[in-house]
Symmetry: C2
DNA sequence: CTAAAGTTTCAATAATTTCTGAACGTTTAA
DNA sequence: TTAAACGTTCAGAAATTATTGAAACTTTAG
């Protein structure tokens, strides 16, 4: 497939950013290409367009599927697999977020939980223990929060984001209401 | 310096996670070590404790300083530089967040802004243009939002996070109030 | 000024990650 | 049953990234 220069530069950019986003160059490129493509693409089309080997396309797609970012589509009377993004931009971003949190935060959280189980044995450990506890609390709060945000509908979430720091004013508002009348 | 097994395993974990968090193994270890240490450490102490070369310590510290995660302290009558975390756990997490957003989002945002300037030249570009616009909007909203959250005091932010998806109820509350009485 | 104590830089090397392509597996049309 | 069309795997090669250590640089005490 032939890409217009503007699309090509976007796809290549996705490649360059790939490793920063948690995967590698090829995988970034494949994802960029699929998002920019109106119709699903076969492994062959992907490989030719990006000049990468059959094997690499296969591995890349597999990885993207493990991130739940790509789905497979079949066309009647055609034995090829066709690939397309597994949802809207919004959903994709969400998945990247979830998946990264799983890989970047969960292991640390579980290490910290273990480490905090038994009491510090000396002054050095006491200090470290305290620090680990802070990190643990921070990560817990953050994890819970993002999990809850995921459960909010995109529309509400957009409203919330547009509100920005204005949300503080509303928190104050709530405090006033709670103080002057209704129970919490 | 000699680390107790529990602290050592935490520091090593920071090393393993390092690359997922946006830096490399050594840098993760150095940061972990500094956070766990009650007193500032010299380059020598860091290198010995982690068994890494002088040069590597120097480069690692430099990188951590570029992330604004480590500060230098001097002790009267001592020519060595001593290093310590540049703030509370909370502040550190914030910096990592900001810094990563700068590296992971900003370049894409600027590419998209450029790409969206001129009109699509054909059907393929028209579709891609639309997709880029969606991504652009998403990233803009997200960037603005996180920037605003940064401006909220840690206490308020904690309240907000603890509230979780309960924040939606408050949004509804606000809507009711606005509708029935005061102007926005 | 000189030497000692420290830090930084960077070319060479080591370690790790990614990519290729050939071999193998599977499905289906004939 | 065969062979063509496709997907997958994985050992080795290529590319990239991290690390070392020696040389250069900086600061300061004497």
């Amino acid at each position: 497939m032939n890409l217009s220069p503007k699309i090509e530069s976007f796809v290549m950019h996705c490649g360059e950013m790939g490793s920063r986003w948690g995967f590698n160059r090829t995988i970034g490129q494949i994802m960029g290409l699929l998002v920019m493509s109106e119709k699903p693409l076969s492994a062959n089309e992907i490989g030719e367009t990006l000049s990468i080997s059959r094997g690499n396309v296969s591995m890349g797609i597999k990885e993207l599927q493990s991130w739940r970012l790509v789905s497979t589509q079949h066309i009647a009377g055609d034995r090829k697999d066709y690939y397309l993004p597994a949802g809207s931009i919004w959903e994709l971003a969400n998945r990247v977020f979830e998946e990264r949190s799983k890989r970047e935060v969960d292991p640390t959280l579980s290490l910290l939980r273990d480490a905090l189980l038994d009491d510090p044995a000396n002054a050095q450990e006491a200090y470290a223990h305290q620090r680990m506890d802070e990190i643990h609390q921070l990560l817990e709060t953050l994890t819970k929060w993002t999990a809850e945000l995921q459960s909010i509908s995109p529309e509400k979430l957009t409203t919330l984001m547009k509100l920005g720091s204005g949300v503080v004013r509303i928190l104050d508002l709530k405090d006033r209401i709670v103080k002057t009348g209704s129970a919490d």
